[in-house]
């Protein structure tokens, strides 16, 4: 294995990248605002138009982008560690799709209008069922083929159920909203979304991050990990629940943004010496940077109506996925 750069500087560099992307996301919008002036107004308690746009539109958009990106990157790395398979991404294997279906049920039934937490809860339930199902079908390092096929089945089913639920809802915009749930967008989200998603997402992150050492041990095999003192049943439960908590609320707020958890861990894996535990935090940071960058892209390319975020990540991610499959095939 080639020597990898030291861990702390790598994480620091990625954190700096996230910060740069965050600031850029706040500065770059459809209209020009004087961000400095708006910030000064905000701190002085003056509600100028600039301050309002900054506080109510730009900041929530960037915060949600960073939170969701971190969640998807982290969840990708976690599932790849758990399933010991480099192709396990929430989007590819149907976890995001199932989360979207859960959120759709909560949203269009009107439940989330009277009880705000219903929306992320729906997402968590959908994601949780999918992860558990995948683990039952394709866990413990079974063949890549089984995992991908199980993912295809779950994705298709969740997508079909989402479209069906929308068609049955008395909603004149159903056709366009299927796109939102399947492709994802950060357009005109608000601080309310940040408030109800953030605590759940962070809880999910913590559950995943504490499993880092166990994932490192698991890469040596389940027996070895157990002999090293890790309680594998507990680790599995933490990772499954943690992934559901990280993916569910994220998808409930932005729809399913694909491939983030595939591309980012794969690019970073060589840089952490292939250690799945160390891959977790850096994948989260990389995911945040990628989603923020993609969201800047959909606003500057000038395609109106705005491209869905998942279009951009799929344009990057899908060819990448094919390349990855190609390499796996040659190795086999």
């Amino acid at each position: 294995m080639s020597p990898s750069p030291p861990y702390a500087p790598l994480a620091g560099a990625l954190a700096a990248l996230v910060l740069v992307a965050f600031v850029a996301s706040v500065r770059i919008g459809y209209a020009t605002i004087d961000v400095g002036g708006a910030l000064a107004d905000l701190l002085a308690g003056r509600t100028s138009l600039g301050a309002l746009v900054l506080m109510e539109l730009r900041l929530p958009r960037a915060i949600i982008g960073a939170l969701v990106g971190f969640s998807l990157g982290l969840a990708g790395a976690a599932m790849q560690g758990l399933l010991r398979n480099p192709l396990a991404d929430a989007g590819v294997i149907g976890v995001s799709g199932a989360a979207a279906f859960g959120a759709v049920m909560a949203f269009y039934s009107g439940l989330s209008a009277s009880f705000g937490l219903a929306l992320p809860t729906g997402g968590i339930l959908g994601a949780g069922v999918a992860v558990a199902l995948l683990y039952a079908l394709a866990g413990r390092g079974s063949a890549t083929m089984t995992l991908i096929l199980a993912g295809v089945a779950i994705s298709s089913l969740a997508g079909a159920l989402t479209a069906l639920a929308l068609n049955l809802s008395p909603n004149p915009y159903a056709a366009t909203e299927v796109m939102f749930w399947l492709m994802g967008s950060l357009a005109d989200r608000s601080m309310t979304h940040v408030q109800f998603a953030a605590p759940l997402l962070i809880a999910g992150w913590l559950m995943i991050l504490v499993c880092g050492p166990a994932l490192d041990a698991l890469s040596l095999g389940e027996d070895t990990a157990t002999s090293l003192g890790f309680h594998m049943a507990r680790v599995r439960l933490l990772l499954i629940v943690g992934t559901a908590l990280a993916v569910g609320p994220a998808v409930a707020v932005t729809g399913a943004i694909g491939f983030v958890g595939l591309v980012v861990p794969h690019l970073l894996r060589p840089l952490v010496g292939g250690r799945p535990g160390r891959l977790l935090l850096v994948s989260g940071l990389g995911g945040a940077a990628l989603v923020l960058a993609a969201d800047i892209a959909v606003r500057v390319v000038g395609v109106r109506p705005e491209l869905k975020l998942g279009v951009v990540t799929a344009l990057i991610g899908a060819p990448f996925f094919l390349l990855l499959l190609w390499r796996l095939r040659r190795e086999a």
């Binding site: 459809y30 509600t47 109510e56």
Partner: protein, 278 residues
């Protein structure tokens, strides 16, 4: 092959059974497959002439004639339903249910395509066209005269004019070339969307509308629809925080989605808003 056979059978059925009566001056059975022509048909025709209207005009939210079409058979713009209603004339919109219209034309059913008017003159022309087609030109003239009377009310003189933007679900707005734009300008308002280089009905991000400096935000009146991502933009917290900087004017979409006499009601709301304090 099968398709050609089907077309032949349909054409034969058409010739033998009922298409012959289509040439008569006042069609006895008229089917409308478009919300806007539904409205004109119900308001201008004899009740006995109305063979079927689209389901949209029975769904109360978007329709001005929901209570008058309760007993009228509904269609969903499918050619099969229309043929089954045995129409002498079909009223359609130029941009809706095109597949059905092309089938109907192919089998010889007369179809009138109503346009989507962008000016008041075009509105009058569409009313006249539909009225003539169903054999009630006189009622069309009366409808137009009443519309002209209501649209000629004096508008407020105010400098500078108030700046307004329409905000619809999904961030859609009414740009130049739309009927909404014409009504806003006639009412003495500046349509901000026209400055933002939009097409007739374009989508605008919320921040663009807010930073363009609007005095009046014109939103859909009846908000209590089923939950939709599309309508979330209308309840975004930033709109509440704009406070008294921006006044929200509610116009139920059914008043000016179509080009019937109800646009005068929308116009009244606009004129009142244009003359009020900012």
């Amino acid at each position: 092959m099968a398709e050609r056979f089907l077309a032949f059978v349909l054409a034969a059925a058409c010739l033998g059974l009922w298409c012959g009566s289509a040439a008569a001056a006042a069609p006895a059975r008229v089917v409308s497959i478009n919300l806007c022509t539904d409205e004109l048909l119900v308001q201008l025709a004899d009740p006995a002439q109305v063979a079927s209207v689209s389901w949209l005009s029975a769904a109360s939210a978007g329709s001005n004639v929901a209570d008058r079409v309760m007993d009228v058979p509904q269609n969903h713009g499918f050619a099969e339903e229309v043929v089954a209603a045995r129409p002498d004339l079909v009223l359609a919109g130029r941009y809706t249910a095109r597949a059905a219209v092309s089938v109907l034309r192919r089998i010889g059913v007369p179809v009138v395509d109503a346009d989507a008017p962008g000016t008041l003159d075009q509105v009058k022309a569409e009313i006249r066209r539909v009225a003539d087609a169903i054999g009630h030109g006189d009622r069309g003239d009366a409808m137009i005269a009443e519309l002209e009377r209501r649209m000629s009310r004096p508008t407020p003189v105010r400098t500078p004019k108030l700046r307004a933007a329409v905000l619809r679900p999904n961030g859609f707005t009414a740009g130049p070339g739309s009927l909404s734009d014409e009504l806003m300008r006639r009412a003495g308002l500046v349509n901000v969307a026209a400055e933002l280089k939009l097409d007739t009905y374009g989508q605008l991000p919320l921040e663009t509308i807010i930073l363009a400096g609007v005095d009046l935000l014109i939103v859909d009146g009846d908000r209590a629809g089923p939950p939709a991502i599309a309508t979330e933009v209308l309840s975004h917290p930033i709109l509440a925080k704009l406070g008294d900087r921006v006044r929200v004017v509610k116009i139920p979409p059914r008043l000016w989605t179509c080009y019937g006499p109800s646009i005068a009601d929308a116009y009244d709301i606009l004129v009142d808003a244009a003359g009020s304090a900012p």
